[in-house]
Symmetry: none
Subunit: 225 residues, 2 copies
Amino acid sequence: MQKTKVLIADDEPDILEMLSYALEKDGYEVITAHDGDETLKKALKYQPDIILLDIMMPKHDGIEVCRTLRQDKAFADKIIMILTARSEEYSEVAGFDAGADDYVTKPIKIRSLLSRIEALQRRRQKDNPSALQVGPFSIDRERYLIVHGAEEIKLPRKEFELLYLLASMYNKVVTRERIFDEIWGKDVIVVDRTIDVHIRRIRIKIGEQYIQTVKGVGYKFAIDE
Amino acid sequence: MQKTKVLIADDEPDILEMLSYALEKDGYEVITAHDGDETLKKALKYQPDIILLDIMMPKHDGIEVCRTLRQDKAFADKIIMILTARSEEYSEVAGFDAGADDYVTKPIKIRSLLSRIEALQRRRQKDNPSALQVGPFSIDRERYLIVHGAEEIKLPRKEFELLYLLASMYNKVVTRERIFDEIWGKDVIVVDRTIDVHIRRIRIKIGEQYIQTVKGVGYKFAIDE
DNA sequence: CCAACAATTAACAAAAGCTTAACACCCTAG
DNA sequence: CTAGGGTGTTAAGCTTTTGTTAATTGTTGG
């Protein structure tokens, strides 16, 4: 289980601290930088998923950093948000022009910032054609990854395939027989309890409440409270 | 027993209140939202069965929200209705295009809205090929559930199969012999009273009046008296 | 009305079926 | 070659489901 990494770049320690605190509380892993150079260096080093850039920074401003990052393939589809004081003369247009995903003016309202980040993440996932959206989960076949809010859950192959099968049949019972056929194939012989054990491991990782047991029949993926 | 959940999204508090009142009086559990973001968040959180979306809303309009929801497996077959003022320039086509089930223009006539919702629910059930419709029940093999109005009843395997057998022979007597053959198979030996006990358990869960005893012969599923 | 038979019902017992932890045997990347 | 992740197996509990029994309560034909 791996947290989503956020890199926050601002030269004011107060802002840095406030944002760090809020984001960490929300389950993100936070990295900070104080100027343009440091931002680039840390971005390369830690490969964050989300980058918050203050515009006014020593050694290359936020716009420049944004433009530079966007030229790197690795950051082509990461989330980049520009933070700016309303008074500063940079325009919103310049921000989007440099490739930013969103543009937030200070004073920053934490709740609103968090929901905008979430919205961007949702959109990012949604645009990804190989990802299956199910309630709070985005199940990404390409990266073998389950995204759940700020959490990225990495599952090994068998567990992933099993979860994917169940999720793609949302709310329908998948029989044990079907599971064997789809995950192990007709000719492989595995003991009956193997399925249960895999279900167990998935439940531990994604939470107990999403996979329901239907005794004597199979399992189903559903979201009820 | 669980009520059917309706999420109503509109930025005008008056409309929200009027609809809430009407739907609650009709037995639904109501959740409200005031803008697009809140709608998405609450939909994810509460998993409503029916969603009413005003088109004109701050932070993502109804069409967008509808489109987003439809990409989520969990909402693929929930009921989504678009509400709109006749004057607004959005077209009906856009609504259906985004995956809405119905399109209602304001001013809203409550009685008509309620009956359209009911019609959609009925159709949803009827269109489900894996569910058997008998009287007030929908017996759903895929979900392994009995749906009785807003109530979902869970039955263990033997009871489910027995009820399914009786329901599929609606209004016809099923002999004890036939029941043994179909539910237990030719070679399993169970005592005669076992059937009675299972019938008992089903009656407790779905109500006494649906399964009739035909002395000396068997049982039949019917809705009379 | 009353045998005589059939079904209801509650209580109990047995058996399925699932959960869970522990372990063992791969592989494979370092 | 070795540690660690990924898979499969086993076996000891548990819980739920299923089956049995027996007392009781209809029901019905004579």
